[in-house]
């Protein structure tokens, strides 16, 4: 039984024994993980463990040298980054990566760049504004001039504008005030309840495990632990290393 009360479906994302390099650095040394349809899966790990590289391997920005990535039943290992979003994977990247000199509205429109259904895009934008009323207030403000929390909302909203089947979230709580962190996680749950599967990279392990169905622990480019979120929360190693308990 999953956290959102529905039973998870078939695998939507299957990462199999992926090796990825950053220049000459062997960043991922055989990572395998699965996200099932409708799940929130979290990826935990220290800085430099390879969490962001895992996401960049999935979204096509860092092509793996070895291994395979399957999404929605098709191999996407060598599909270029700009095609991946068309297949149904959108991302709110590390550091948000908004277009700083574009307005909030323009940023959201960029999220729907590969779509052509104008009226539905407008509806989706209204939905994003319902989810993040703050963005509606700031709709004509340049994204680069907003606070970190507002930028994070805009980055998540922009990813949603692609109508993804799978949402990759990289450190959505990084640098945010605690009140914002709570709100962001509420919204992540809400997005998931509406049917989007989520792969969540998060340094706030407690919040992540509360929201997730399952989790993986990544250490220096390898998956060292995989379990459902509730078990990971009680796992002694995880408690020591990621939940800050002694």
């Amino acid at each position: 039984m999953s956290a959102n009360g529905r039973s998870p479906g078939a695998p939507i994302l299957e990462v199999g024994d992926v090796h990825t390099y950053y220049g000459s650095i062997h960043a991922l040394k055989g990572v395998s993980l699965t996200v099932n349809d409708g799940e929130i899966v979290t990826l935990l790990g220290a800085n430099g463990a390879g969490k962001t590289t895992t996401l960049r391997s999935i979204n096509g920005l860092n092509r793996p040298r070895q291994g395979s990535i399957r999404f929605d039943g098709r191999d996407i290992t060598t599909v270029p980054a700009h095609e991946i979003v068309r297949r149904g994977i959108a991302q709110s990247p590390e550091g948000r990566r908004l277009f700083p000199r574009m307005t909030v509205t323009e940023n959201l429109e960029m999220g729907a760049f590969q779509r052509h259904d104008r009226s539905e895009i407008r509806e989706d934008m209204e939905r994003v504004f319902e989810l993040f009323p703050r963005l509606q207030e700031r709709r004509s403000q340049k994204a680069g001039t907003m606070s970190g929390g507002e930028q994070q909302m805009c980055a998540i909203g922009r990813a949603l504008m692609a109508r993804p089947k799978l949402l990759l979230l990289d450190e959505p709580s990084l640098g945010l005030a605690p009140i914002f962190v709570e709100r962001i996680f509420d919204i992540i749950r809400q997005i998931n309840e509406q049917g989007t599967s989520i792969l969540l990279v998060e340094q706030n392990a407690l919040m992540a495990l509360d929201a997730a169905d399952r989790g993986y622990v990544l250490e220096t480019g390898r998956i060292v632990l995989a379990d459902d979120a509730a078990s990971l929360k009680t796992n002694e190693e995880v408690r020591k290393t990621y939940l800050g308990e002694t």
Partner: protein
């Protein structure tokens, strides 16, 4: 006009009065004084020179926009850009005279021929510029920034040599088909059709470019790619294709500039792109490199500065000093306001 814009620039840079700031203000004041004296002594010459400056400035604007578009998207100063402009002049001569048999005194047939030549030159130079990016810059995408810069200088020499082999070392003459009659003549100030045509063609091209960049899907892709390539890619934008498109547009603008300039000045030489390219590059830096309205503003200012220097009577340094003046402006801008007149401050300083 130049003085009006640079005065607050230098002033804002120095919050407390400093020696350099004071000297800058003194210099600007002297410049304004010099312009006013010239205006009072020979108002008709001043008017003539002003209009020549605007005409030159609009050609520079077309070239400067190419530098700024490419810099905006790749942070590369495409030194070969001026030479693509030169090639456009040669294309203009070949297309108009050899293909279409254009010559002076053909009456109304001149109009469609010039228009067709303009479009062909834009198409040819756009394709060449996109090809240059594909062959010379794309393989160096991940290399240190110095590598494509040096390559650009190399491509510049290659194109000059192609021009040299094609049309020889001397000036080649373009047909003098723009009418020289006056559009108006008021108070001793004359404005002839051949100058007005240059401005009249430039303005719609500039407006079309602004519309393209601001309003179209391709323009949004260009702006997104300029601001963040990885983020653009995960939005579904084909980054490589967008960069190719940007070079195509930049080349087409150089093509338009080359056609207009060669038919107005009626001469083309293999090395003219180098000099005019550097002047246009200075204009792009003056306006704020990467900033489209800035490139136009900078180009008009440089056009005016050049015209005032070469055309005014009372104590003008004269054309021998044009290049020194233009490049002194480049140095001053890079030292005191690297983001240019309209550019935004970036961590890299422009």
């Amino acid at each position: 006009m130049a003085a009006d814009v640079s005065a607050p620039t230098l002033g804002a840079r120095f919050k407390r009065p400093s020696v350099i700031g004071l000297l800058g203000l003194l210099f600007v004041a002297a410049l304004v004084f010099w312009l006013i004296v010239n205006l009072i002594k020979t108002p008709s010459d001043f008017g003539d020179v002003f209009l020549i400056g605007i005409t030159n400035g609009s050609v520079y604007a077309l070239i400067a926009l190419g530098y700024t578009l490419v810099y905006g998207i790749l942070e590369l100063i495409n030194f070969a850009h001026g030479d693509v402009f030169m090639l456009a002049g040669m294309f203009t001569i070949t297309f108009s005279t050899h293909f279409f048999g254009l010559h002076q005194g053909q009456g109304w047939v001149t109009v469609p021929i010039v228009f067709a030549t303009l479009l062909l030159a834009m198409l040819a130079c756009g394709s060449i510029n996109a090809a240059i990016e594909f062959v010379a810059y794309r393989p160096l995408r991940g290399a240190p920034r110095l590598a494509p810069l040096i390559t650009a200088i190399g491509v510049s020499f290659i194109i000059q040599d192609i021009g040299l082999a094609w049309k020889g070392p001397n000036y080649v003459t373009a047909p003098d088909v723009f009418p020289h009659s006056n559009v108006f003549s008021a108070g001793g100030v004359d404005y002839s059709w051949n100058k007005l045509i240059v401005v009249l063609v430039t303005i719609p091209v500039l407006l079309a470019l602004l519309w393209l960049v601001q309003e179209t899907r391709q323009g949004k892709a260009m702006r997104a790619t300029a601001q963040d390539k990885d983020a653009a890619a995960i939005m579904g934008i084909n980054v490589n294709r967008t960069i190719s498109f940007t070079f195509l547009i930049a080349g087409a603008l150089a093509g338009a500039a080359g056609t207009l300039y060669s038919l107005w000045a009626t001469t083309v030489r293999f090395d003219q792109g180098f000099q005019l390219g550097l002047i246009a590059f200075t204009a792009a830096v003056l306006g704020g490199i990467g900033n489209l309205p800035g490139a136009v503003l900078g180009a008009v200012l440089i056009g005016l500065i050049q015209a005032f220097n070469e055309g005014l009577n009372w104590h003008a340094p004269g054309s021998d000093w044009t290049q020194s003046i233009v490049f002194s402006i480049l140095i001053l801008i890079l030292v005191f306001r690297p983001e240019g007149l309209l550019g935004e401050k970036t961590p890299e300083g422009g």
